[in-house]
Symmetry: C2
Subunit: 315 residues, 2 copies
């Protein structure tokens, strides 16, 4: 029985991952500031910040085989609250990595799966993005994610950690209550139409974005925990494959599932700022990530099905 730790375990992604892990037969330690539900049998909940050394002492009462580090302050919020984002997204994350590196026990190293972000790239123009493109973050959240990737690669190179950093796109469909994500519209459009509710969409029908469902994201996180890293690149970083879809393609998939009447529920009222930031994503090429076993949802229809199936469970 191995010991698995999940930070941000009450979050949108972390909660789904915890549910998937709770029947795995492993010892499971869940860390978050609060929890919406009681722990499953065999799982342990620790309330507090992963940046609190005493809490980490408790979490690491037995060394962790695998740590999923998902906790972070979302991008829009971290951009407004710089000092708090710097503390959580950079300093506390680096301290966690140092702590896990110090825990190295002989040849046994902790597999640290780190939720990085496509925010590392910075402004995207019309050209397709390749997974090896030099990142140029344009928000502090992206800068701190990129710095963490570099730190984890260095600790892995030194043999002190066994890190896998995944650059996640926006994941759908988040609950309407979640804030701090500028890309919230991507989830809202799905949930509203599935519920038969009208929605004023802040991007045009032609707006393109990178899409991934929550179950697909969890699949990729679990793959990152299980994969052989012997042939991993020095960066220890993979850009997850995504579906590159226009809002029109997503609306068509929703209409196919929920009826053509759902088309009448949508009114486009593009917000220039949101359209600029989240409406012009180019194609994304990820041959290395695909070769390493990471996957996108396969099709818009499957994206919608999986995103809303999971939403039904967790909202």
């Amino acid at each position: 029985m191995s010991h698995i730790i999940v930070t941000g375990a009450n979050g949108f992604v972390g909660g789904a991952l915890a549910r998937r892990l709770q029947d795995s037969g492993h010892r499971l330690t869940l860390i978050d500031r609060d929890f919406d539900a009681a722990p499953a049998p065999g799982a342990r909940q620790l309330r507090g910040s992963f940046g609190d050394p005493a809490l980490l002492d408790a979490a690491l009462d037995t060394p962790a085989d695998t740590v999923f580090h998902l906790a972070s302050m979302p991008g829009s919020l971290a951009e407004r609250e710089y000092a708090a984002g710097y503390q959580v997204n950079l300093l506390a994350t680096l301290a966690l990595a140092q702590r896990l590196a110090a825990h190295k026990d002989g040849a046994r190293r902790t597999r640290l799966v780190f939720a990085s972000s496509v925010a590392v790239y910075g402004p995207l123009d019309a050209d397709a993005v390749h997974e090896h493109q030099a990142p140029q973050p344009a928000i502090s959240y992206g800068a701190h994610k990129l710095m963490t990737e570099i730190a984890l690669a260095d600790l892995s190179r030194r043999g002190l950690l066994d890190a896998v950093s995944l650059r996640l796109p926006g994941i759908v469909a988040r609950p309407a209550s979640e804030s701090g994500h500028g890309s919230a519209f991507m989830s809202l459009v799905m949930r509203r139409l599935a519920a038969g509710e009208a929605y004023v969409c802040p991007v045009s029908a032609a707006a393109t974005a990178w899409w991934m469902s929550l179950p697909c994201c969890v699949d990729n996180l679990l793959h990152a925990a299980a994969m052989d890293t012997a042939g991993a690149p020095p960066s220890r970083t993979w850009q997850l494959p995504v579906l590159h879809l226009s809002m029109e393609q997503v609306l068509a998939a929703l209409a196919a599932r929920y009826g053509d009447a759902s088309r009448d529920l949508i009114r486009h009222q593009p917000d220039a700022a949101i359209e600029a930031l989240f409406g012009h994503y180019p194609a994304l090429h990820t041959p290395a990530a695909l070769a390493a076993g990471f996957r996108h949802d396969g099709s818009a229809a499957e994206l919608v099905r999986r995103a809303l199936a999971e939403a039904a469970i967790c909202s």
Copy 2:
């Protein structure tokens, strides 16, 4: 009269910079753990670590207009002493940047000139390196320099700092006493031949490296302090132009200056590790840095002349 701070001001580069600045008429604060000489009139020496908050309080009794951050633990040493390198080269450096950012006074931002390193690139193959190449550091020193570049770019983007990061090559001709640099042979070969002493060179005559003299490096640091950053790239980072020379070309320039007899003082006894790390540098293209006004020494003859003229002053 503006206030200029130099960290690592007793080092090889910092000392030369301090000598150049001491007659500039500005208020000059020099920080280092120790000093070999008394301060020039108008300059102030603070003994201690730039990572010590109390020392920074003293240094910043009046806000700094310009900070040259040159202090760091050298690459080879930081690779052996990971914890110390992490503390100095990453954490203390980030704390210094935060401190200067917090000092922002209205529209007045501190110009922070940061000595980054070509160590950010990682292994170099036969292909020419372009200044925009995606870095992939292979030592902790390089990882921490790269992380700092990203942090400074982010603080500059936020308007809290006005940073310029320069990726420095090995600088010649360091005193023989300096340790921790795997590239020490580049300086030793110059000093020994200039002094008429025999030298066993640990790389072959064909070994190629990136060369810059100390006066040239100081010129570039001063240019970084004075340049207009209005059109700077978001990275705030420039790869300094270098001379890409074989050891044979450097030996020829030394022979031209010190006589053909100096050729007999050299015996090549390549060390496989040093040749691998420092003997196969490819060409380096830096059009953006040249356009921004940064310069290399111009020729092997001028490199040798300037490297040894400065060496004569400071050793």
